[in-house]
């Protein structure tokens, strides 16, 4: 029996990345998983309302991608973004407080699950209209170049967003003007319940970059080191040469589109979901680290306990946080004070 060869990108990343960071990435994946599981529980208890889109299954993408960033780099995402926010440095308690609609939430309870913002951490949302935030990322990249600064912007969206106009308008401008932005397509195969084969004339999302003469790569989105490898190159290209890249990360969501949607049903089978779970990104990463002698089962369990404890503390923080007060209702509609000004509201 022969041992399967270790892929190049794995040995490259294991050699180039400090051990502490490799272990921390494992912890981040566990935190993302436990946190989202807790969100499902809190949603069932009606502590979390509205739409709540969980990231379970896709952790490798955000964690691999964000592992390549500096603190001053920016992240803009769609609405499946709890984990992106946590990994960008948002306080887990304040994120949970936001999901609970509480005053100490990162967006003061005004945003909720789909609108997590933390300016100090470079977390620019949390946007709820499919494709609507792609031009914003193009705009922050425009600003970086305008200000002659070398921060980069990572823009995350699902594969279903590549058929809306903003995607094409943004890629065109980013390539035309040479902007330091990385567009990361989290291709989890389904736009809600519509499979990519039923929505896109071209299956290979990364190919679309050729229309804009833009660098692109397709990567296994269930392999955190592969993501880190690919995004790391794209970040370098953006930072050094002001060039954008389109990355397609092929991943899979283990949950329904949102908490109110079924995991499987008309659009995918239970067998398909169970089959994909064999590719669990946390398990795969752990196996890579274990094979390299960097972690043990005991360490995994210790990290998992920590992730659960942090999640539990986040819930406690959110529970203790008050609801926003009524006088905050009209706050931040405008930068200057604003009250009910039409008499119909008084």
């Amino acid at each position: 029996m022969t041992t399967p060869a270790i892929p190049d990108h794995v040995s490259r990343q294991l050699a180039a990345t400090p051990k502490a960071q490799l272990v921390d990435m494992l912890y981040q994946m566990l935190l993302g998983r436990r946190y989202e599981e807790k969100c499902a529980e809190m949603y069932a208890l009606q502590k979390i309302g509205g739409f709540c889109h969980l990231y379970i299954g896709q952790e490798a993408v955000a964690i691999g991608a964000l592992s390549t960033l500096r603190p001053d780099d920016l992240v803009i995402t769609a609405y499946r973004e709890h984990v992106h926010a946590l990994i960008k440095g948002c306080d887990p308690g304040r994120v949970m407080a936001e999901l609970f609609g509480r005053r100490d939430g990162v967006s003061r309870g005004k945003g909720g699950s789909m609108h997590l913002f933390d300016k100090d951490k470079g977390m620019l949302g949390g946007h709820g209209i499919v494709g609507g935030h792609i031009p914003l990322a193009t705009g922050t990249a425009f600003a970086a170049k305008y200000q002659q600064k070398d921060y980069v912007t990572l823009c995350f969206f699902g594969e279903a967003a590549v058929n809306i106009g903003t995607f094409h308008e943004s890629l065109n401008m980013a390539a035309l003007w040479k902007l330091p932005v990385i567009y990361i397509v989290e291709n989890n195969r389904f736009g809600m319940g519509t499979a990519i084969e039923r929505s896109s004339a071209i299956y290979d999302v990364a190919q679309r970059a050729c229309a804009y003469d833009m660098a692109s790569e397709t990567v296994d989105g269930m392999d955190v080191l592969a993501i880190r490898d690919v995004i790391g190159r794209a970040v370098d290209l953006a930072r050094r040469e002001n060039l954008p890249t389109l990355i397609e990360a092929r991943c899979y969501r283990f949950m329904g589109h949102s908490m109110s949607d079924p995991v499987h049903g008309h659009y995918r089978t239970k067998e398909e979901v169970e089959g994909q779970k064999q590719q669990d990104p946390i398990k795969r990463y752990f196996e890579h680290l274990k094979a390299a002698g960097l972690v043990t089962q005991a360490l995994l369990e210790e990290l998992d306990r920590k992730a659960r404890a942090v999640t539990e503390q986040a819930v406690q923080f959110a529970e203790a946080s008050p609801e926003p007060s009524a006088d905050e209702l009209y706050q931040d509609v405008y930068a200057e004070p604003y009250g009910p000004y039409t008499r119909s509201e008084q």
């Binding site: 945003g111 913002f117 300016k119 903003t166 035309l176």
Partner: protein
Amino acid sequence: MALVTYRDALNQALREELRRDPAVFLMGEEVGVYQGAYKVSKGLLQEFGPQRIVDTPITEEGFSGVGVGAAMAGLRPIIEMMTWNFSLVAIDQIVNGAAKLLYMSGGQFKIPIVFRGPGGAAHQLAAQHSQSLEAWYASVPGLKVVAPSTPYDAKGLLKSAIRDDDPVIFMEGETLYGSKGEVPDEEYTIPIGVTDVKRQGTDVTVVAWSKMVTVALKAAETLAADGISCEVIDPRTIRPLDDGPILESVRKTNRCVILEEGWPYAGVGAQIAYQVQQAAFGDLDAPIARVTGLDVPMPYAKNLEHMVMPTPARLVAAVREVLYLD
């Protein structure tokens, strides 16, 4: 004081604010090399260069969002719509982006951006190029909507809009660009949200903005010949609406006619009429009248277009009606 066109007054405002603050830039179709579709940005590329006077592809939603993103990152963009008609493909970025980001982020992201360009009908441009969309944008909390009628107001208000920390929808009158008026030589600004009395009168209050002020002033001249004194009030800002001077005038004249180029249904005039009757019902001696563009897509034929547009004659008739003269 110099006699300056509305176009040049806007150009002066842009130039002065671009000089004043390096975070200010102008982006849009044909703003640079072409010198502006309506020449509002004439000469700016030469003075400020292509980094700050940015020609875009025809991609309104894209570059509107680029502006909003740049504002999130600390810049103060001015986004030119070649006409406001084209903003309808960008409205998601304006309504779901610019207007909401401060609120949704719990006050973290101010969006100091100006969307500006010409609105309203010109001459025989037909249905897709002849719209007055201020009611659409004015209905959105988080946006400010400005529609100046004179070169003086245009310059002073545009400078305030550029310095404002909120998104401002700045609607210029397409047929006003060549109109002339006095503009001071020294620097000045006009605060957003301050109504102006364009003509004093005693018998009836006429509320009008943008190029409808010209229509109102013409009608007022005609009516003056018949001994009827109109007070013409120009809110200049549609949102926030400074209704104090309107109410003050109505309390004096006891009659009110609202003149609006846009459609009647859910128009700005409907909101103003609501506010006037709510606050000054007891002062009104007649129901409030509205004169608006007619409730149809703009037709191309010259005679039909003329029927749609509010005219001094239609305003004269409405004024006589609220005075019970006809």
